[in-house]
Symmetry: C2
Subunit: 251 residues, 2 copies
Amino acid sequence: MENSAKNKKSNIVLALDFPYGNRNELLIKAIKILDETHEFLCAVKINRQLALPLGLFNGLKKILRLAKDYGLPAIMDCKINDVGHTNETIAKYYFEVGFDAVTANPFVGWKEGLKPVFEIAHKNSKGVILLVYMSHKGANEGYGQMVKAPEAEGLVSQYQIFARKAVEWNADGAVVGATYSKKIAEIKKIVKDKVPIYSPGIGIQGGKIEEAVKAGANFLIVGRTITLAKNPAKTAKEVRDTVNSILGDTL
Amino acid sequence: MENSAKNKKSNIVLALDFPYGNRNELLIKAIKILDETHEFLCAVKINRQLALPLGLFNGLKKILRLAKDYGLPAIMDCKINDVGHTNETIAKYYFEVGFDAVTANPFVGWKEGLKPVFEIAHKNSKGVILLVYMSHKGANEGYGQMVKAPEAEGLVSQYQIFARKAVEWNADGAVVGATYSKKIAEIKKIVKDKVPIYSPGIGIQGGKIEEAVKAGANFLIVGRTITLAKNPAKTAKEVRDTVNSILGDTL
């Protein structure tokens, strides 16, 4: 991912999200957006808005091939949170079809939980990106709750526990909503440069690019702001340029 | 679901789970198991072990049609845990293809989280089944952690919070691992008869049928114990009979 960002001079991950709709049109739309915007991106993220209607080994395969042709790594945002043997099987199918990384929810735990996912991923030079704080309003209920500190006195926030797990489990990324830039800064202090921060939620969900990047986001995940734009290429270029101008020489 | 259990005189939900394998063989295997065991079941549960390789609107559609022919409601065990607009789209596709219920993780919260899923489900007479305590070893990390009680002093366990949410949100089921029968009893005290308990993990994962049912499980979710059995029909009948003999007249 870091190499792709350097080569492409972009820290923008395009989330290829579309509203519920006509399944035949979705593939055409997705390919069109990718064709128009690929030069402004460092990666592409797919969620089930696209995976379910297209089918993993059907339409989605074509999109993954196109992403590869454009030199873009592909992240499956499947938010894995099942028992180990199921998680492992899910990850295997996603990797088999061509994804370079999967997202997972650390809430599920390690033993018979995410351990098999990390093992199968790292054995195959694939990545696991953990959810640390999500971008929606209800995120405070779970990610924001105060939890009895493991092996210590007192309380600690759930997202701090998750950030520590991201370091401990050798995660390849941590997702922190751009809508909560203060949390990005807090989490950055824990993960430092060991785990890059991926930040979704700018634009339609209300997150501000500058705040998120200055707080420590390494990659911006941008979805409907680009996919629903009148001119997706222009919007993608603008977002990319905004991020680059904030990062300046550190890019 | 209650009607189906009465009609079929069975409280067994078959989890059509198979190990990672040849995609062409999976559809044949799944149909064969369903043909052989349907008379001993009250419902069928599909997870991504089958949904990913077969494709939602491809192979999986055939299995859902077969389940319908056998009068079995179908649950998609997708463990929804994303932001609201994604969750809603996921649920819509699963309902469109013919599922009667989806599973969801209450950790994601209500606002811009699971609210849209409950709305779209109940508007269409579909169900939402919440994860309250899972069956794997790592479940204690998240589901078992102690959390600062919302709007009160002191600590409360995560699964108690989830059980209360299941009642409050009007959930159509609560998943509690059969591997933790004491937790089933604790959760039953909270959900009472308002939310039926679905219990996975008997057999291969170590849960005991009798303990789970006596603790308050309403439905047993049985997967690999049946799907990997030498004689799936015989095993399904045995499990069904065991449960029925424990339930006796209360069936």
